[in-house]
Subunit: 266 residues, 2 copies
């Protein structure tokens, strides 16, 4: 391994890392991104092998970070002053290690039984959380519209906690074409529609979820087979009861999971 102590912001590798943090275009062009923290780096390593570069701050790293750095002793390592490291990390208190990694290509499964379509989600943390939920619920593939934030940004990776490594994510999708081509039922999660709990969710399906503020676009609502709603308490009493996009996605996808488990038990 090569070990470098960089202290200048003009260092070309550091400048490149800054670009990868800030620019979706740069991440896509170079098919690389940055991972923050021991858990995420271990998860990547388990699935895709060693990262290209470890980045650590001067001073104290956590015990876990130090352990990981020792295990990955043959990976090139860059030591940075605390303030320069802080420019790269998406979290306020880092565990003291980041990694530069290749973004793998999404491997689309040959038969798709349970797919998620995410329309125009803006917040990287929300997107990451939705992908994490999807992976846990057994979704096989996540399609993201062009209006979505980048699934491989450091913040979205942090929110996903490794979901992007096990769940194929296809970005830049045209939602209407996808829905019309999908060989199964297509559903959209909306504020008004059929009850989630009265829907047969055991057959092959594509579930569409929408933007934090606006929800699913009218065009996509018209394109899907059925609009679905999560029944809520006190509905209509006050305009207060609602779910945020990530929570609504969790409820919907796990209702699919529940029905499918019941089927596999039966």
């Amino acid at each position: 391994m090569a070990f470098k102590h960089i202290t200048s912001r003009d260092n070309p590798v550091f400048k490149q890392l800054r670009k990868l943090v800030d620019q979706s275009r740069e991440r896509k062009k170079t098919a690389s991104s940055l991972l923050e923290g021991v858990h995420l780096i271990e998860a990547y390593w388990q699935v895709y092998g060693e990262p290209r570069l470890l980045i650590i701050p001067e001073g104290q790293s956590s015990v876990e970070a130090t352990g990981l750095i020792q295990q990955l002793a043959d990976v090139d390592t860059m030591l940075l002053p605390t303030l320069m490291f802080a420019e790269l990390t998406p979290v306020a208190s880092s565990s003291g290690v980041m990694a530069l990694v290749d973004i793998p290509e999404a491997v689309v499964p040959s038969t798709i039984d349970f797919a998620l379509l995410i329309e125009d989600i803006q917040d990287p943390g929300n997107l990451g959380s939705m992908l994490r939920t999807a992976a846990a619920a057994g979704v096989q593939i996540a399609y993201l519209t062009q209006g979505c934030t980048d699934a491989w940004s450091p913040k979205a990776l942090r929110g996903g906690q490794g979901a992007q490594f096990v769940l194929p994510v296809v970005e830049g999708v045209n939602a209407l074409s996808l829905v019309s081509a999908f060989g199964g039922q297509t559903l959209a999660l909306t504020m008004q529609g059929d009850s989630l709990y009265q829907q047969n969710l055991r057959e092959p399906l594509l579930f569409a979820v929408g933007n934090e503020g606006a929800g699913i676009s009218k065009a996509l609502q018209s394109a899907v087979d059925t609009c679905i709603t999560i029944p809520m308490a006190h509905q209509g009493t006050l305009a207060l009861e609602s779910l945020n996009a990530a929570a609504a996605t969790a409820v919907a996808l796990f209702e699919c999971q529940r029905q499918r488990l019941a089927l596999s038990l039966a």
Copy 2:
């Protein structure tokens, strides 16, 4: 109404507002807090009446903010330079209005059929999201342990989107005493336990959910009747599949809601 244009950080009212943003103790001592944005202020107004003070930034406010300010024309209003306003708001891009309000006392319902116990949640946004989910799922009361972040901080209020106005929130609760006194079944959401979907959730119950990192404490796990798990896909294949605290809470509370709806339909 009184309209004041404040430009000095030494203004005693502005200093008091800063304290309310920063200090949980000050919010509790004065039983007051700050709301950010039109939606939240409207929701508060609908439930508890007019806020004590409106706070607006110089320059452009959104159309919605301007409309609200006109409707609340008899409420005292403070105009602040943009930078001073930014010191008060918990969001990066404000809709251009905040309000100083009284924190109401929690009204505990006489019979409790569906309660949530939140143990040591640290992140105000997560806590707010969990309260929002709980209100939507029909939870009647939320108990927060002493280790929880303050439910009435501007950030938690923002995350709750009005949940704190309709859901009684009791803070500083001793979890073990509460569980032993509760007159119904007590459940804890954990990584290992009985399947959520095989549990009868129609009877009076208290659901305990835990901290983002550590989950439910061992002491609380031992104290409850049953530990419950959300079955996940690929469990054990990789250590990646899990849910964040807010998503897990959403899945669990809406499974209660689903079973209760089925009962009310039957």
